[in-house]
Symmetry: C2
Subunit: 355 residues, 2 copies
């Protein structure tokens, strides 16, 4: 904390580093689409007269692929708002309450929820904040396994996939924040699980740390159709799709009767001006496949049930969670941009401060 | 019946007109892919010694789009067998039992089920035949509304669409064998229903005979996206897809939250060497859409329930059914081929004989 001024009444004013969104993005996002500013300041004390204010020290930020959508010009029917050019980036994160005149929050509380990409935030609108109750796991987990990624894997697998013991499951972007959990949930459920990821290191992680039955590096496969035939000689019951595009198209002819494709994400398409064509949808008919999209925010009523399941699994080490943590807010733009080239190994977290 | 010979033992031998499949088809099927032969003969009497034989006089044939698939080279995972070059075409139809040494069938019985495209058939394999119990509707209805098309509309709408009263429903190929029923089921259910079809005459039928709320001739629309926006200003809850391709792609951005797309057929793709690309699948995610393929043969356990529903509706004239009947087996190739250019207005039937 850089103290800038300490007046007679002991009001501390500090510099507030921030990540500002410059302008709407076309194509792949670049670090230079954001700028780190050092000129903002903030009072680290709340006016006594004002009720309902909360002063937060931001600790961990979550980097999520959906944020790419927020970098585009607003479009009709989008499920999230676009960022405002010239304004601070926001997303999910973990923060600590420094001061509060809000009755529900007190100094020292840890919260997760909507977080600005800045060192300190003042909020009058704590509806999106959840008080963290479970302090016996790493705090950063609330950006990932206990946050949106965890809920996404949980809802996607248990609520949308209709899994059955023995099902053959394929997960793409399998080592990522969501994928690593989907694979582990499927294994715990008694499924046979194969994952794809974009590097040897990630493939090793899938097989050796997360217990996938098989895994492959899709970037090294010349003919994805043939690769899928090799890994799924009898076809796929469940495809948990994180990537869309070519991989989805090649999966379709390899689906089994009554298979299910969960449309969790299509990261391979987010940065393209024109989406790629999908040519094999006739297999939805031939194989009687259900293909279903979902957005996790519709399912937060299940959050307590999810916590009840996941916390013991974490504590008993039956579920592993790999995070990729970058230190320092100034590195947040690189971390976010890196998602779209597969730089992250596991859940991408930015640590602004550890407490 | 052309008697060819009447021997001393009164065995009648007649000419048996047949439609023979010539060879595997690429692209649009043509009449000349089939040939009508007049040189086969058949004994119209069964040997007394042989039990389990049934001699059928074929009355009505059903022309169905899925038969196009049977004209292609056999492919792995197809849900129906290909026709055998040089052999008679087969499909669904209605026939009368002329003679039977099978205990379950007797002379005069009317049956529906698997039927060869020939005047008379001898079968030893009556598993696929259903005895017609409901003779108080036109016999030909058993090729359509009481046959596969009816069951398809029933299963597709009631079992796969998850309809709700007030849902906005869009049906493509809406005046066809399946589509006309889907629209009427949806209206009876309390939905708002719009159909698309390929001629003014069909559009009139949709609005004036089948009670669709709106209908349009997609062949006259320059910009299907804009057309859909006009007919569905608030989006589509259920798309009953009979055509696939471009129309499906344009529907996707017009889906409502939690919408459902029933993949019943993709007739626009059956004759293409390469399927068209679908570019808008991201809307499955954005709108949380479920897209589901089904094949009616998986659902025949529901046939009794279907009959229980549909027969009173037909008798009370609450459901209309339009057939397009061509007379004469020699015209069957033209009727079948005509499905793929939209020649048929309603269910395409071939009448070989009326009793
Ligand atoms: N439906 C929902 O509510 C919801 C919620 C959260 C996330 N999601 C979606 O779930 C997916 C995974 O999210 P996450 O948070 O777990 O991210 P993540 O997997 O941790 O990170 C993104 C990963 O995607 C892969 N990737 C990037 N570009 C790719 C491309 N062009 N083709 C194929 N793979 C590519 C990279 O891994 P590789 O090295 O393996 O290529 C990268 O590491 C995303 O599509 C996201 O939008 C959906
Ligand atoms: N899933 C199942 O179990 C199942 C069972 C039966 C049928 N089906 C499918 O359901 C659909 C309708 O079958 P049906 O028996 O009711 O046939 P139909 O609609 O009576 O006849 C086919 C109609 O399709 C339309 N059509 C032809 N080519 C087209 C194209 N390129 N683009 C758009 N429309 C085209 C034409 O009508 P227009 O004048 O309107 O263009 C034509 O009249 C087919 O796709 C069929 O394969 C599926």
């Amino acid at each position: 904390m850089t103290e800038l001024a300490k007046g007679s009444s002991e009001v501390v004013v500090v510099r507030n580093k921030r990540v500002i969104f410059k302008d709407y993005v076309n194509g792949y996002p670049k670090e230079s689409d954001m700028v780190v500013t050092y000129d903002a300041t903030i009072h680290l004390e709340l006016p006594k007269s004002d009720g309902g204010l909360i002063l937060l020290k931001n600790l961990y930020l979550s980097c999520d692929p959906y944020m790419r959508g927020r970098m585009s010009k607003p479009i009709e029917g989008a499920y999230v708002d676009s960022f405002i050019p010239g304004s601070v980036i926001s997303g999910y994160g973990v923060a600590k309450v420094l001061e509060s005149t809000h009755p529900d929050f007190k100094k020292g509380d840890l919260i997760s929820g909507s977080t600005n990409w800045e060192e300190y935030s003042l909020t009058t609108n704590p509806e999106s904040l959840i008080k963290i109750q479970h302090a016996n796991v790493p705090l950063s987990y609330h950006t990932g396994i206990l946050g949106m990624a965890g809920m996404t894997a949980y809802v996607g697998f248990y609520e949308i996939c209709s899994p059955k013991k023995g099902d053959v499951v394929f997960v793409s972007a399998a080592s990522g924040a969501v994928g690593q959990l989907v694979g582990q949930f499927a294994k715990l459920y008694g499924c046979y699980v194969v994952g794809s990821a974009g590097s040897k290191e990630k493939v090793d992680l899938l097989k050796n740390k997360f217990g996938f039955d098989e895994a492959f590096n899709y970037k090294e496969e010349q003919n994805i159709g043939a690769t899928l035939k090799r890994y799924f000689p009898d076809g796929i019951d469940i495809y948990f799709d994180n990537v869309g595009g070519k991989m989805l198209d090649e999966v379709l002819p390899n689906m089994r009767l009554q298979g299910r494709i969960v449309v969790c994400g299509m990261i391979s398409q987010y940065n393209l001006d024109q989406p790629e064509g999908i040519y094999n949808l006739i297999f939805l008919l031939m194989k009687r496949v259900r293909m279903q999209g979902f957005i996790v925010i519709d399912h937060y009523n299940l959050y307590p049930k999810f916590l009840e399941m996941i916390l013991p699994l974490i504590q008993e080490r039956k579920i592993m969670y790999v995070e990729d943590t970058i230190e320092g807010l100034e590195n947040a733009p690189a971390a976010l941009v890196g998602l779209f080239t597969g730089k992250n190994i596991g859940k991408q977290v930015v640590a602004i401060a550890h407490d």
